[in-house]
């Protein structure tokens, strides 16, 4: 009789604990950042016109930068490469890592493709017209500004991939830009704002949370 009572008590506790952790987990959900992001159009690294909603159903990590960025962009993509590796193959299939150029004039889809694929072949580069990029950065409130008064020779820029052309006189602009990494859920809502200082395990946990939502 005593055994039955204990088992019953244990069962009740299990039910309570389970329901409690469900409610707590629900309360700890990543919030939607209202007004950060939204539907946009761009051109992907294969030259194909895309919409953000084309990635509906996938969790998205979105970064902004440009291929002539000497320091932070290669560092960020290196971080994202490591982050991608922490995900299982199935989780990788459910996620898209997208790098949006802020210099569409220089970063053609083809050039962007070489840059992002240097880090991971699954990474997607997005370019487009100046207006398209300005619209995307305005949606995400992604700050950037042209640093160079006139353009600088690209041969002088430290880089991980070759210049766009072999021309020694090739020039491009230098930019300062946001370091924010945007984590988007399967509906395209921004659910977390991260940076390369976020421990990769913590970032991966958030990606998984959105995959399993």
């Amino acid at each position: 009789m005593l055994k039955i009572t204990i088992i019953l008590k244990m069962l009740i506790i299990l039910v309570i604990v389970n329901s409690v952790s469900y409610v707590l987990a629900d309360n700890n959900k990543l919030p939607i950042y209202s007004g950060v992001g939204g539907e946009f159009t761009a051109v992907d690294s294969n030259g194909k016109d895309i919409k953000l909603s084309d990635y509906k159903g996938k969790t998205v990590v979105l970064a902004f930068g440009y291929t002539n960025c000497a320091d932070i962009c290669p560092f960020t993509l290196g971080y994202l490469k490591q982050l991608y590796k922490t995900l299982s193959v199935e989780e990788q299939k459910q996620t898209r890592f997208i790098f949006v150029t802020i210099d569409p004039e220089y970063d053609t889809p083809e050039h962007l493709k070489a840059f992002v694929e240097f880090f991971n072949k699954d990474f997607i580069g997005l370019s487009g017209t100046k207006e398209q990029i300005e619209f995307i950065t305005s949606l995400y409130k992604a700050e950037y500004s042209d640093l160079s008064e006139g353009k600088v020779p690209t041969k002088d820029i430290r880089r991980v991939t070759p210049q766009k052309t072999g021309d020694k006189n090739e020039k491009a602009s230098l930019f300062s830009h946001t370091v924010v990494l945007y984590l988007l859920d399967k509906k395209g809502y921004t659910r977390s704002l991260e940076y390369t200082g976020t421990p990769k395990d913590e970032f991966a946990r958030k990606i998984r949370e959105l995959i399993h939502e």
């Binding site: 409690v20 707590l24 629900d26 939607i32 007004g35 950060v36 939204g38 409130k141 370091v179 704002l193």
Partner: protein
């Protein structure tokens, strides 16, 4: 032996149970927490609007700018009328230094504690008085327009204080905030402070444009608020900063820039956070009454960590 085992187990069970109860308490608090946010913001904004009226109307010195601003006198009882005489005469400014809102457990009423510094003149000599007051607000303030909002005021402490090195806390300061808090209460569903906002003059005329990411809505206030409610369904607005600028082209028009924080849930019950910029254009009419011309609202990127300001 069986008894001993059960005896050994029971403290463990008790521990788990007490932990469970603790969590259960937290879990129980979860659904009410969102409601708390709504109640907190609506009660705070409503109470703050009335408080701004109270303190603004105490500033009577004729030698301060904004001396021509009038406050619609609050609906007050005899105790409050008598209490006004406990303030000094010729007040030129009041600085509220701290506040604390609490719900009174034995009723639906709210207690609002206010610490302030009051500057006034006696025989052309300036004095400053530090006051610690507790207001009890009628909880029906949020639902009934014609009640006396302040039930009681008690003076907990009053003493001479050092002179204030500012002169910006005048009638206009309080008038703008009286309006702003009433407006915030209104957009969260409190309809009892519309006369404070002189809403009859503009509520159906003013334009309200809303930009939330790629979504853009523009129209009159009621339908725009309805559309906003679909995205920000249950929660509340809190004022984070306020700035007023005169329109450069028109001396009788000014612009109130508000930065607000909204927290709550959307239609599907998902938590939502918003950092909101509202730009409210107001015209001061010949009779000194206010008329809102337009409201522009945009949702910004919330700064959740210091590194977010970094650009590389």
């Amino acid at each position: 032996m069986k008894y001993k085992k059960a005896y050994f187990l029971s403290p463990v069970l008790m521990m788990v149970l007490s932990t469970t109860l603790l969590f259960a308490g937290a879990a129980f608090a979860v659904p009410t927490k969102i409601e708390d946010r709504t109640e907190y913001s609506t009660s705070l904004n409503s109470v703050a609007s009335v408080i701004m009226n109270w303190y603004g109307s105490l500033i009577t010195s004729s030698d301060v700018k904004g001396g021509d601003i009038t406050f619609n006198m609050l609906n007050v009882n005899e105790q409050l009328r008598n209490y006004r005489s406990k303030y000094p005469q010729n007040i030129s400014q009041i600085v509220i230094t701290s506040t604390n809102l609490m719900k009174l457990s034995e009723s639906d009423d709210y207690q609002f504690k206010v610490k302030s510094k009051v500057t006034y003149k006696v025989n052309n000599k300036e004095h400053t008085q530090a006051r610690n007051e507790a207001f009890v607000f009628n909880g029906s303030l949020l639902t009934h327009p014609n009640i006396i909002p302040i039930k009681t005021i008690s003076l907990n402490n009053m003493e001479e204080a050092d002179k204030l090195e500012t002169n910006q806390y005048d009638q206009f300061h309080y008038k703008v905030r009286e309006f702003t808090y009433a407006w915030l209460a209104y957009i969260d569903g409190v309809k009892t402070l519309t006369s404070t906002m002189n809403a009859k003059a503009w509520l159906n005329k003013a334009t309200y444009s809303l930009k939330i990411g790629a979504e853009q809505v523009e129209g009159s206030i009621a339908p725009t608020l309805e559309k906003k409610k679909k995205l920000l369904t249950q929660g509340g607005h809190l004022l984070k900063s306020l700035d007023v600028k005169k329109d450069s082209a028109n001396t009788n028009i000014f612009v109130i820039n508000l930065i607000l924080e909204w927290k709550g849930v959307n239609q599907t019950g998902k938590p939502v956070i918003a950092k909101i910029h509202q730009k409210i254009k107001v015209k001061v009419k010949a009779d000194k009454s206010w008329e809102v011309i337009s409201i522009k609202e945009e949702h910004l990127l919330p700064i959740i960590a210091p590194w977010m300001g970094l650009v590389c």
